[in-house]
Symmetry: C2
Subunit: 129 residues, 2 copies
C-alpha cells in the first residue's frame, strides 16, 4: 500500500499540442505498477485548456476544484466541483478553465492507453485543409 | 460523454459483512459500460468503517473530505483530504472514519473485480478458529 498527499507528487507541464496552462501529476502510475489503470490529476490555469482531441480509450474524470467547461463534440457543458464525466472512447473532448481559480480534476486512463494514438482536433471545429 | 454531479447519483448502504455506516455511489459503472474500470464514491459516517478485507485486485483511492485512517495490514495510517492511496492486490485494508464529519473518498476498481472473491479479516487481526 502507498499513501501520499497529492501535493507531494511532482507536477509537470503538459506539452502536448493544443494544451495551454496545464500541469499534470501522475498520482498512481508507473512506479506502483498498477495492474489496470492510472490516476492523474490535471491543474488548468484560468484561461487554460487541455487539447481538443480524441482517442480510442476512455477517461473517467472527477472535478476537484474550480469552474470550467468540457467541450463535448461541438457543444460546451459547464463543470463545477463534484462533477463526474465519463468520456467514452472516440468522444472528442477538451477541458477549459473559464473561472478565476485553478481548475483541478482527476482523470483516469487504462494502462492500454500507453503508446496509443491521440488525434488533436482544430479549435475551430472545422477540418484543416 | 456523460456529465453528472456526484450528488445526483443514488447512494446505497454497503451491506457487506464488516461494514458499518458506509454508503456507496457508483459514479461510473455498469450503465456507462466502461471498458476497463469503475469509479465509486464511499461515504463513511463518523465512527463507521469499511470491512477489513483483501482481494486479488487493486484499489485506487482519493480522499475527497473528512479525516480517518486506513488500516494497512496491522498498522493504521492517518488520512486527510487530498491523500492518494494505492491498495495493491492482496493488501489487507480497511477505511475508518475517526473524525466528526463524513469521510468521503473515491475508490476505483477494475472491471475484472466483478464476481471475484473478497476475504473479510477479523477486526482483532487474529484468525477465526
Amino acid at each position: 500500500m502507498r499513501v501520499q498527499h497529492h501535493n507531494e507528487v511532482p507536477a509537470n507541464e503538459v506539452t502536448m499540442e493544443g494544451a495551454a496552462g496545464c500541469r499534470v501529476r501522475w498520482l498512481i502510475g508507473e512506479g506502483d505498477k498498477p495492474p489496470n489503470f492510472a490516476m492523474r490529476e490535471f491543474e488548468v490555469a484560468p484561461g487554460g485548456h487541455t487539447p481538443r482531441h480524441f482517442h480510442d480509450y476512455e477517461h473517467e474524470v472527477f472535478v476537484l476544484a474550480g469552474n470550467g467547461v468540457v467541450v463535448d463534440g461541438d457543444q460546451e457543458r459547464p463543470l463545477k466541483q463534484g462533477d463526474v464525466i465519463f468520456v467514452a472512447p472516440n468522444d472528442v473532448h477538451q477541458f477549459r478553465n473559464t473561472g478565476s481559480e485553478p481548475m483541478r480534476f482527476l482523470c483516469l486512463i487504462p494502462n492500454s492507453a500507453t503508446g496509443k494514438n491521440v488525434t488533436v482536433v482544430p479549435e475551430c471545429g472545422c477540418e484543416m485543409v
